[in-house]
Symmetry: C2
Subunit: 129 residues, 2 copies
């Protein structure tokens, strides 16, 4: 299949597929005489795997590592588990930070009564501290 079909089937834009190629995550199995990229089913599943990983917010470097590990079915999968586990901790950390941020913003919103003028604005006063 050509890149447009792969794009539709995978849900990745054409530009993103070409971008992943530059980043060495994926490559076409062939090219036509007119230099069009041609892909097969394994490209599609690889791309879907990448997309799944991206939806978990894994970096392209991490995905590269997962894809490499996948190539060795007989080795231990401990590194994969560690990667996911560490990533989950990063996400937890981020959630904690955002919750603090939200609390601060909630305080600011509370500090405001809508009819104020700028010079009396509770939000600006908190921001100036």
């Amino acid at each position: 299949m050509k890149i447009g079909e792969l794009s539709k089937k995978s849900g990745c834009s054409i530009q993103t597929i070409r971008f992943y190629e530059r980043e060495k995550l994926i490559s076409p199995s062939q090219r036509t005489d007119s230099n069009y990229r041609l892909y097969d089913a394994s490209s599609l599943s690889r791309l879907r795997f990448i997309r799944q990983c991206r939806s978990l917010d894994l970096t392209l470097a991490e995905i590269t590592q997962l894809l490499e590990t996948k190539e060795s079915p007989e080795t231990s999968c401990a590194s994969i588990n560690n990667l996911i586990h560490d990533h989950m901790e990063d996400v937890s950390q981020k959630i904690a930070e955002l919750n603090e941020l939200k609390a601060t913003l909630a305080l600011m919103v509370k500090a405001c009564s809508d009819n104020n003028k700028v010079k009396e604005c509770g939000v600006l006063q908190l921001l100036a501290d």
Copy 2:
């Protein structure tokens, strides 16, 4: 004061201060004969304000808007409150997304028993769906 002192007092790196200048958020009140930037106290409080806003994860465009609004002390501060309120909703949304993500990752971690080989890896199986 020169840029190094402003950097220490504000907590912004020298490069960041020059970057904010290119982005028109701040500018030195003067230059020396040898073209060194010179700042006064108002630069410092402006920069601290910017930093405070950045710690709330406001964009530079939003901060520019806040700084402009600040210049008109007699106008209504409704736009400021709206901005903070909307931003808080974005943060809430992001927290919700990350909580879902965390739940997915937790499922994956659970799907794994440490001594598996790659070909049986529960994490990879979930990622391949």
